[in-house]
């Protein structure tokens, strides 16, 4: 699913966010990326969705190399990804429902499916009752769940969630992590960057990526979930 080879990322201001990292993610994998603030979690996710390009090394996602020149390929790759951004990136002035629908209108769904997928996704994150609320009137935790709904409504092959539980209470956080984790399937992988290490301590059959100052160490945990 993902192959990161000897990748470094240096931002234009000189910050070295990722330092020669290697990471392979298979087709049916649940990956947690943890590490202190500023360690490079978001930077790694940005490389995978093509928001940044590696300064050196290669990033391949579903067989497609991420590079600036291949904008058409990048676009069709992005269609298969369900991203949850750390800063949410919801579109203000629209309802929760319209935000979720906007994220899937250009995918291969019929008009009916668009509406149904969006409604189902909102229900999954427990926000059916807020479907018609403007997103700027939602609490941060609610808004966060809208952005998760937008990601899962896409029925993606890869979920990239950056700090999806940051503003949720314990129960909601567990619930959201379970929902995201449930998308791990035969050919679907889920990558979650999170500070909530206490929630994943006892999880089995997952990959834990620990980041520190741009370097990573990978632990593949086996066992029954």
């Amino acid at each position: 699913m993902i192959e990161v080879k000897e990748v470094s990322l240096r931002y234009r201001d000189g910050t070295l966010a990722l330092n020669n990292i290697n990471l392979t993610v298979g087709d049916n994998e649940l990956v947690y990326i943890t590490g202190p603030s500023g360690s490079g979690k978001t930077s790694l996710l940005k490389l995978i969705i093509g928001m940044e390009y590696p300064t050196s090394g290669t990033v391949k996602v579903m067989g497609q190399e991420i590079s600036e020149e291949k904008s058409d390929e990048l676009r069709s790759l992005r269609k298969k990804i369900g991203p949850v951004f750390q800063e949410l990136k919801l579109v203000p002035g629209r309802s929760a429902m319209e935000n979720v629908m906007m994220g899937i209108r250009f995918l291969d769904f019929s008009g009916q499916e668009i509406r149904r997928n969006a409604a189902d996704a909102l229900e999954k994150v427990g926000l059916s009752h807020k479907a018609d609320s403007m997103v700027e009137n939602l609490s941060w935790g609610e808004a966060q769940r809208v952005s998760i709904a937008r990601a899962i409504a896409r029925k993606p092959r890869l979920i990239l969630a950056d700090e999806p539980t940051g503003n949720l209470d314990h129960d909601n956080a567990v619930n959201i992590l379970n929902i995201l984790a449930s998308f791990k399937q035969k050919d679907t992988s889920v990558i979650i960057a999170t500070h909530a290490t206490h929630l994943i301590e006892n999880q089995k059959n997952v990959t834990i990526v620990r980041m520190n100052q741009g370097s990573i160490s990978v632990e593949k945990r086996g066992g029954k979930e």
Partner: protein, 295 residues
């Protein structure tokens, strides 16, 4: 995009949002477009009227070729036939002595009595050649080359001024049409760029989600089209009123210039304005859309 139709509602809603999110600026754009289209509409109306004048003037462009007196009538007709086949000649016909006499009588009108003083008809037969006024020089040259032709009477100065008038009208019209086209395209594309800039966050997000430029850009094309078409409709309505007033005041004709039937003129102006609005709106939007790539 297989769900294009089911997204139409979304596209129109987004377009409306883009228009209303920047009301003041877009009101200026709209008024500016209406004013420019009004200018175009006046040119089109003026062109319509003056093309009749031009047609009339072109019809009037003629030279007279006097031929050897020993040509008999049949030979004269053959010569006219030959002349009428020349490039740039509309037609050529023989005006015989008696017709020439009648014409002069008409021209002299009240003073025609003077013709009575002649015992014989003093006028000679000639060939009247109607020509394309743009090619006066070369046609006269060719006609002079015929050995049967003795003398060519041209109205070079008249022909030249006819030609100048025609050229002037065409040049000014063309210039104005270009100016209108370019200005409208710039105004509309600027408006679209503004809209894209104002919505840059949304556009960035949609791109990250894998939306095509077509999906992102279509609402903006709708905005451009909607603005120009609405401006076109308003312009057509204003012209409808103006033309109606104009015909009332002039009672259907200006001296020497036959006005076209009012319905023809209105239809012509409306068709041109609406067609031009749609075309310019599309071009302007597409130009403006190119800035999506920068976001």
């Amino acid at each position: 995009m297989k769900n294009f139709i089911s997204n139409l509602g979304y596209f129109f809603k987004e377009a409306g949002r883009i228009i209303f999110s920047n009301k003041l600026s877009n009101i200026f754009t709209f008024s500016g477009t209406v004013l420019i289209l009004l200018m175009l509409a006046s040119v089109v109306a003026g062109w319509n009227v003056s093309s009749r004048l031009v047609g009339m003037l072109e019809e009037e462009a003629e030279i007279s070729a006097f031929f050897d007196e020993d040509l008999d009538q049949k030979e004269a007709l053959e010569l006219a036939e030959k002349l009428s086949k020349l490039d740039g000649v509309r037609n050529a016909r023989v005006v015989d002595e008696s017709e020439a006499y009648e014409r002069m009588k008409e021209i002299l009108a009240d003073d025609a009595g003077i013709l009575e003083l002649f015992e014989h008809n003093p006028f000679k037969a000639y060939i009247e050649i109607r020509i394309d006024p743009g090619r006066t020089e070369s046609i006269i040259e060719t006609v002079r080359g015929f050995k049967e032709i003795g003398y060519v009477r041209d109205n070079k100065s008249v022909l030249k001024s006819i030609n100048d008038i025609i050229r002037g009208i065409k040049t000014i019209g063309t210039l104005i049409i270009f100016a209108v086209g370019i200005t409208t395209v710039i105004i509309i594309s600027h408006m679209i760029r503004q809209g894209i800039y104002n919505n840059r966050d949304q556009i960035k997000t949609l791109r990250l989600l894998g939306a095509s430029p077509m999906f992102i850009g279509f609402p903006f094309i709708c905005v451009g089209l909607f603005m120009t078409v609405a401006a076109g409709i308003l312009t057509s309505l204003v012209m409808l009123i103006l033309i109606n007033k104009g015909y009332q005041i002039m009672g259907g004709s200006i001296p020497f210039i036959p006005l076209p039937p009012k319905a023809d003129l209105l239809l012509g102006v409306t068709l041109v304005i609406m067609g031009v609005s749609i075309i310019l709106g599309t071009i302007g939007s597409l130009f403006g859309l190119s800035s999506i790539k920068d976001q």
